[in-house]
């Protein structure tokens, strides 16, 4: 899953310090595998180099990096297109999609619309595989079936997530 895009997404809420980003990242997006602080700062450095964030003046006080980072229009556009783009079905789908849904809810974006597009993209793939299965020899048909069952499992999870968006949104808003 993409740490840079996730941090960028978190910055789309409001300008933040690295340690705020790390805290929110650890709270929402990883369970039991905190992001090393060094990775936060190196990622922010790269995002700044690429013009996706800007670093504010160093604030007085102690700590490794007291600077506040803000997203740029370039960064914001990148977050938007990333969120809106359906994810390919692979073993990482649920991780990536989960991050996107939570971020979309945090940013007040159309999480339901993103899920709809994801499910449409999955169904399109399922249609292609159904056609393929029906015109293939038994071996290829079995392989197509395997893919179909995986896509179906993804879709069930997508539907369940869509059904739980309201309670998820409450949770995200409450913190």
């Amino acid at each position: 899953m993409s740490v840079p895009l996730t941090l960028l997404g978190l910055l789309d809420r409001e300008p933040s310090h690295g340690y705020d980003l790390k805290r929110d990242y650890d709270t929402y997006f990883v369970r039991g595998k905190p992001l090393p602080p060094g990775q936060v700062y190196s990622t922010l450095g790269r995002l700044a180099r690429d013009g996706k964030v800007v670093a504010g003046e160093s604030e007085s006080g102690s700590g490794p990096d007291r600077r506040r980072y803000a997203i740029t229009p370039t960064g914001r556009a990148e977050v938007e297109s990333w969120l809106a783009e359906p994810v390919d079905s692979d073993p990482n789908l649920q991780t990536v999609l989960f991050v996107k849904v939570v971020l979309a809810l945090m940013l007040g974006r159309d999480a339901e619309g993103y899920l709809d597009r994801q499910r449409a993209s999955h169904l399109q793939r399922m249609r292609e595989l159904t056609t393929l299965r029906r015109s293939s020899d038994p071996v290829d048909a079995l392989l197509a079936d395997h893919r179909l069952f995986h896509l179906e499992a993804d879709l069930r999870w997508i539907d369940l997530t869509a059904a739980r968006l309201t309670s998820l949104a409450d949770l995200v808003a409450a913190s």
Binding site: D116, A120, L123, M126, R127, R134, E152
Partner: protein, 240 residues
């Protein structure tokens, strides 16, 4: 009655079936709240969505089983919702086929009787009706079962009889509501293979209600029903 007897509208071309701003409540429960759907001739459209979202109600309104409280249903250029109940019944008998999850066959009658029944209702010649029923037995891989009572069939066989019975009149539209809902994956798959192959061969338009994505994947496209509204991930001509 044929579709040509319906009140004509100026636009000859356009969708075969169209729902506009459909509203329908049951007591204080709103089942449809402004549903829109447009289906072209020959298209197979899957209607998906959570339980209780209004899929079956939408299908029933489209098929003229009951009229909407408000809104319009257009079929082949005419207002279906404006027809009298008896003309709607006649239209269903001559132009629509139905496959539901359960309970559509007459268990005391034989397979051949069940398939011939819609033709006999339409006052077709008896011998001809049974000859045609026989053809459909073959098309649905039910050879040799014509004399069986449908109460004695497996679920998969019964569903194929139901498909034959729905298609025997050469309907313009086939309405299917969870046609594989009571079947296992393999049996459901075979039923869907046959249903879609035959519908495509006959040029029959299909409205397929299902919450099974594997079944929906047989369709040309899908729409989602949520809280009595139809949403589509694709741009719909003329807007939602």
């Amino acid at each position: 009655m044929s579709a040509a007897d319906l009140p004509a509208v100026p636009t000859a071309k356009g969708p075969l079936l169209r729902a506009r701003d459909l509203h329908r409540s049951f007591g204080s429960t709103p089942a449809l709240r402004g549903a829109e759907l447009s289906v072209d001739a020959g298209e197979i459209v899957a209607v998906m969505g959570p339980s209780g979202s209004g899929k079956s109600t939408l299908l029933h309104c489209l098929a003229g089983i009951f009229p909407p409280d408000r809104g319009e249903v257009w079929f082949d250029g005419g207002r279906l919702d404006r027809l009298s109940e008896s003309r709607r019944t006649e239209l269903r008998r001559t132009s629509f086929g139905f496959v539901f999850q359960f309970g559509q066959l007459v268990p005391e009658l034989t397979v051949a009787d069940n398939i011939a029944l819609p033709l006999l209702f339409n006052r077709d010649d008896r011998k001809d009706a049974y000859r045609r029923a026989d053809e459909w037995l073959t098309r649905l891989e039910l050879d040799g079962l014509g004399g069986r009572r449908t109460g004695e069939l497996s679920g998969g066989q019964a569903q194929r009889v139901a498909i034959a019975r729905a298609l025997v009149i050469h309907p313009r539209v086939l309405f299917a509501d969870e046609p594989t809902g009571s079947l296992d994956s393999l049996t459901g798959e075979r039923a869907m293979d046959l249903l879609t192959d035959l519908a495509r061969a006959e040029g029959t338009t299909v409205v397929l209600v299902t919450h099974d994505a594997r079944v929906a994947a047989y369709a040309d496209r899908e729409v989602m029903v949520r809280d009595g509204l139809v949403t589509s991930p694709y741009p719909v001509e003329g807007g939602r």
